[in-house]
């Protein structure tokens, strides 16, 4: 029962959101210059950290906006919430 601070709607219950997996994954391109390994990484290779994980969430039953969440996979604590395309802002707690 995470409470997620949607950057556009405020704190809302987890049931309204959908997790889209790891964030900050760039789509490779231009396509003619990208080798198979880079495509395989883009499609299939994911971190599975114990600790802070940066992931994409969609406020599916709300504003329909995607945004980034930095979440601790051990404690489930949400460390930061920030818009797509931005880097994780520093917080008191850490990086």
């Amino acid at each position: 029962m995470l409470l997620i601070l949607c950057p556009y709607c405020g704190p809302r219950a987890e049931i309204e959101f959908r997790c889209g997996g790891e964030s900050h994954i760039e789509r490779p391109g231009p396509y003619s210059e990208v080798d198979d390994g880079a495509w395989a990484d883009y499609l299939f290779t994911r971190k599975n950290p114990k600790g802070e994980h940066r992931e994409r969430w969609l406020h599916a039953a709300g504003c329909r906006q995607w945004f980034n969440v930095a979440r601790d996979t051990v404690s489930h604590t949400i460390l930061a919430v920030y818009p797509m395309g931005k880097t994780r802002p520093p917080t008191e707690a850490g990086t």
């Binding site: 409470l3 906006q65 995607w66």
Partner: protein, 998 residues
């Protein structure tokens, strides 16, 4: 003492009279017999008042059991509450508020509670020792299912479920606050007052119907007045504060991530049945910035021989029955306590007029105020003493055998009050992984690491004194409010005393030679612990699973610590090393119905209706689920013998005259912006930037791994405005995909999109007379000629002031249009269309006819877009742009996906004319053995084609396009339908597309 009906009710006006409402008598039944109690009673207190001692039979041994506690920790007095569909097993008599007409029944007895044949299990008890599941019944293996398990299930069990659908409904609700206070004992009330007075938004949850916790059960004073008056006044003040919400009958059962707490409000459990429109229970998610956990403590029993007999009761529960309910659980009592607190029970019993034979305390010396007070009440004091056995039977306790310095004496008694000390309620502090800490001073676990935002106050934190609880509660409440930015001038502390609470640990009376119970609900005995130790199941996690200690519905609230301490004594470990079992939420049982809320039956997933739903039903449509929607499947007419007859008639009518089909369920997405065209070029394999305004184009979308995701027609209404259609099933998924592509991959594109599926109703009008029908609808001023609206054209045309969109697109292969109108006009436009259609000799058609016609035309649908096909497999490879990048482009180019021998779309016809085809049949070369190695593909869709006058099918076959005309075998062992088929073009009707351009 009192009236005949309630022989154990203390008289009104006595020194102790309780606080039930004697002006409101309530009638109830237990095992069919009528009794009476008063408003304010629990079922347990009313049964005690009535003199009922035997409440149930135990789980394994069918031992007679009575009422052991006065709260939610009750392990014994489990009953079936209510009857019929509302029958609820294993409810605790100690937590059920009495209401008029309450029906309760004992459980786990046969044929009756007083005479229970299976009490023979006590004699066969060697069969039921710890680990009995794993040993006694292991051989022969074949006996397990047929003999042993049914036998055990009948012999060892609890209540019966009703097996009928739950007639009540349950709500879910969400609340947000600054400070959540859990529990309304002295610490909780003080915390809520401190936080509430500061202006913070406070929610106070109390499991009981009344606020006060132990204040309702003790003869203590606060500010020189009875403590329960303090509770009433505090409740009054809290309810008067607009920023405070007091929720009684609400148990907080779990602490979850993000400082969200789960709570269950019993809205209508204290009445016969919920009033109309009222839920039985409400399931709350409470998001609290801070939480003051003041859940209090649970008294710990002591393990000794016969400690399960009806009449053995927790010492604090005895005080609750006296002081709160005014009922006398026994007339002749022995108090067995290891701590100062237990002595109060002797004093209260004496004050209530009962005889107390003795206080037995294993300690060699105690505070002399205690012994003096006991002596003044005529109570013998047996220091250094133990109860080694309690005798009695179904009628309750008859005597206690006490050992003092090796000498035994028999004390006649009908009540044995027991206290081994107090265990703080640590559950909420452990739900997020916190580990409790052992306290030598209290001989119990106290909260250790706390979850974020939580503080613990009062007895829950091991602060057992009243004054200390009030002070610590007040401090915790003020600190919690301050953390949320609220402060208030400190109020004067209420005056109260800290009564003595010294305790010496005693878990088990080792001298006992009779069955001594550790876990009353699961019938785990002291011998079971010894056996588990002897057999090597020594860690508490192994002990739990081997003996089932703490695994009953009470989660070991009165048993875990004693069991773990006994194991620690056997292994020689310190309790701080042994640790304790971490409990998981829910802290108390929660009905599955409450978790489900309204999400049951048809409400689990709402069914969606199009604007034409009512019209379809009125016209006899048979409906079918399509994604979340209901759609007309076919429209049978009287005299048609089966669905196929109807569908054949519908297809023939469309192909020869005209038909109308509701296609409103197709997903529609409105896409606008300067970069709308560029955006579509990146999500479709084919190009949409070149699509002229006023034109529609069929498009195919891939997943990034190269496989086909969806298809549909997208139309351009302006340079910067497109309307996309998706399949019905994928509408939500495609919307999410597009939003992801825009927001995560290409946020620089100036494009916006919104789902408009529900905003538009859309009707396919198909058949040679389709144009004629629409010309009648729009009137003579609108030009619908081939030049004005050619094949794949689209236009916005007003219809009597209503904006409509007309698309010249065809799924059926006929001259066809799709007419879109705002959904609020959908029903009216459908009626108008159908009136004109009928007059022309046309008919409505459903999804079956639509499907037949798309197979006749070789159009792919869900069966072919199955997530395993690439565009080339479906004959759509030439649509794929070679000039630019788009989602899935690179991966679709993987060699295996480009291989020419991939199964590719073809048509098939049976060799034997009139033979039925079946989808799912596998294609084998003629004469080849039916083994996987010879598999060359499979049949995806089949239909009886009225146009071809025979069965036709679509299939994915290796090298398919090169094999038109080849005879192969369709193997369908599942449905016994093997047959030879001929491969052909997938387009069976009008391959040149003459009709749709007509």
């Amino acid at each position: 003492m009192s009236d005949m009906a309630q022989p154990n009710r203390l008289p009104a006006g006595g020194a102790i009279e309780g606080r039930v409402d004697r002006n409101r008598p309530l009638a109830f039944t237990f095992d069919g017999k009528s009794y009476s109690g008063y408003a304010g009673d629990t079922l347990a207190s009313a049964l005690i008042a009535a003199g009922v001692k035997l409440i149930g039979r135990s789980f394994k041994y069918h031992r007679p059991r009575g009422i052991f506690s006065a709260g939610p920790e009750e392990p014994n007095a489990l009953i079936e509450l209510r009857g019929g569909a509302r029958r609820e097993p294993n409810t605790r008599a100690t937590t059920i508020e009495l209401y008029d007409g309450l029906e309760a029944a004992s459980q786990n007895r046969w044929p009756s509670l007083a005479f229970d044949i299976l009490a023979i299990n006590q004699i066969a008890s060697p069969l039921f020792v710890g680990g009995f599941y794993y040993k006694t019944f292991m051989w022969p293996a074949s006996f397990w299912e047929k003999v042993y398990e049914p036998l055990i299930r009948r012999a060892a069990g609890l209540g019966r479920a009703s097996e009928s659908p739950d007639p009540d409904h349950y709500e879910k609700a969400y609340a947000f606050c600054d400070v959540l206070v859990v529990g309304s004992g002295p610490a909780g009330l003080a915390a809520a007052l401190a936080a509430g007075r500061s202006g913070a938004r406070v929610i106070l949850c109390e499991d009981d119907a009344q606020l006060g916790g132990r204040l309702l059960s003790e003869r203590q004073t606060i500010d020189d007045a009875p403590a329960h008056l303090f509770a009433a006044a505090a409740g009054g003040e809290l309810r008067s504060l607009p920023n405070v919400c007091v929720m009684s009958r609400t148990q907080v059962f779990g602490a979850y991530d993000s400082e969200v707490y789960g709570a269950l409000e019993r809205v209508a459990d204290h009445v016969t049945a919920p009033a109309a429109g009222v839920p039985r229970q409400r399931f709350w998610h409470i998001a609290a910035k801070r939480c003051v956990n003041a859940m209090g403590a649970t008294e710990r029993p002591i393990v000794f021989g016969g400690n399960d007999r009806p009449g053995v009761m927790l010492a604090s529960a005895v005080r609750t029955y006296l002081n709160r309910f005014g009922v006398l659980p026994g007339r002749k009592a022995v108090v067995f306590t290891t701590n100062d607190d237990g002595w109060r029970t002797a004093a209260d019993l004496v004050a209530a007029g009962a005889q107390v034979e003795a206080v037995v305390d294993p300690r060699a010396s105690v505070d002399e105020n205690l012994t003096k007070a006991a002596a003044a009440g005529g109570v013998r004091v047996l220091l250094g003493g133990y109860i080694v056995n309690v005798t009695g039977g179904a009628r309750g306790v008859t005597s206690a055998i006490v050992s003092v310095a090796g000498k035994r004496q028999i004390l006649t008694a009908d009540l044995v009050a027991v206290s081994g000390g107090w265990n703080p309620q640590v559950a909420l502090t452990t739900h997020r992984g916190g580990k409790p800490r052992w306290s030598d001073a209290l001989s119990t676990f106290v909260p250790g690491d706390l979850p974020d935002g939580m503080t613990v106050a009062g007895a829950a934190n091991g602060d057992l004194g009243l004054a200390e609880s009030l002070r610590k509660g007040s401090e915790a409440g003020a600190a919690a409010a301050a953390a949320c930015g609220f402060s208030a001038a400190p109020a004067p502390q209420p005056r109260a005393e800290d009564e003595p609470t010294a305790v010496a640990p005693l878990w088990h009376v080792a001298e006992s030679r009779h069955k001594a119970f550790v876990d009353l609900q699961n019938d785990v005995t002291a011998d079971d612990i010894t056996l588990a130790h002897a057999e090597g199941f020594r860690s508490i996690e192994h002990l739990k699973r081997y003996t089932t200690l703490g695994m009953a519905t009470d989660q070991g609230k009165t048993s875990n610590l004693n069991g773990h301490a006994m194991m620690a004594a056997l292994t020689g470990q310190a309790m701080s090393d042994v640790g304790t079992i971490l409990s998981r939420p829910p802290h108390q049982p929660v009905a599955i119905g409450a978790f489900a809320g309204h999400h049951r039956d048809r409400h689990f997933r709402p069914t969606r209706h199009t604007a034409g739903h009512a019209w379809a039903l009125e016209n006899g449509a048979v409906m079918v689920e399509a994604g979340p929607w209901l759609r007309p499947q076919y429209f049978p007419r009287s005299g048609e013998k089966d669905w196929l007859t109807t569908v054949v008639r519908e297809v023939r009518t469309v192909r020869s005259v005209v038909g109308v089909c509701d296609v409103s369920t197709l997903g529609r997405i409105d896409i606008q912006g300067r970069d709308a065209a560029a955006f579509l070029d990146r999500v479709y394999v084919n190009t949409f930037s070149t699509l002229p305004v006023g034109k529609a184009r069929y498009g195919v979308m891939l997943r990034e791994d190269g496989f086909v995701m969806d298809d549909g027609t997208t139309s351009r209404f302006a340079e910067d405005h497109y309307v996309m259609s998706t399949t019905t099933a994928n509408a939500a998924k495609i919307m999410q995909h597009l939003e992801f592509c825009h927001q995560a991959l290409w946020p620089e594109l100036d494009v916006s999109m919104v789902s408009v599926t529900e905003q538009w109703s859309q009707y396919a009008v198909a058949g040679p007379k389709a144009r004629e029908l629409l010309m009648q609808l729009y009137g003579p001023d609108v030009d619908l000629s081939n030049d004005a609206l050619p094949y794949m054209g689209c236009r916005e045309i007003p219809l009597r002031g209503i904006p409509t969109r007309l698309f010249r697109i065809s799924f059926s292969g006929e001259l066809a249009y799709e007419l879109a109108v705002p959904a609020r006009y959908g029903a009216a436009v459908l009626e108008a269309l159908m009136a004109l259609c009928g007059a022309l000799g046309g008919c409505p058609y459903g999804t079956e006819a639509q499907s037949v016609m798309r197979i006749e035309k070789g159009h792919v649908a869900g069966n072919e877009l199955n997530g395993q096909t690439v565009a080339r497999d479906l004959g759509l490879g030439r649509m794929m742009s070679t000039k630019r990048d788009y989602i899935g482009r690179v991966m679709a180019g993987r060699p295996a996906l480009m291989a020419p021998d991939r199964p590719t779309l073809v048509g098939i016809r049976p060799v034997e004319k009139g033979r039925r085809l079946t989808a799912g049949a596998h294609i084998l070369p003629g004469g080849a053995a039916a083994v996987a190695a010879n598999d060359q593909g499979y049949v995806t869709s089949v239909a009886y084609s009225p146009t071809c006058e025979g069965w036709i099918g679509l299939a994915l076959v290796v090298n398919g396009p090169a094999r038109h005309g080849e005879r192969v075998h369709a193997f369908d062992a599942m449905r016994n339908n093997d047959q030879d088929v001929v491969i052909c073009s997938p387009v069976f009707v009008d391959p040149e597309g003459v009709r749709l351009r007509g």
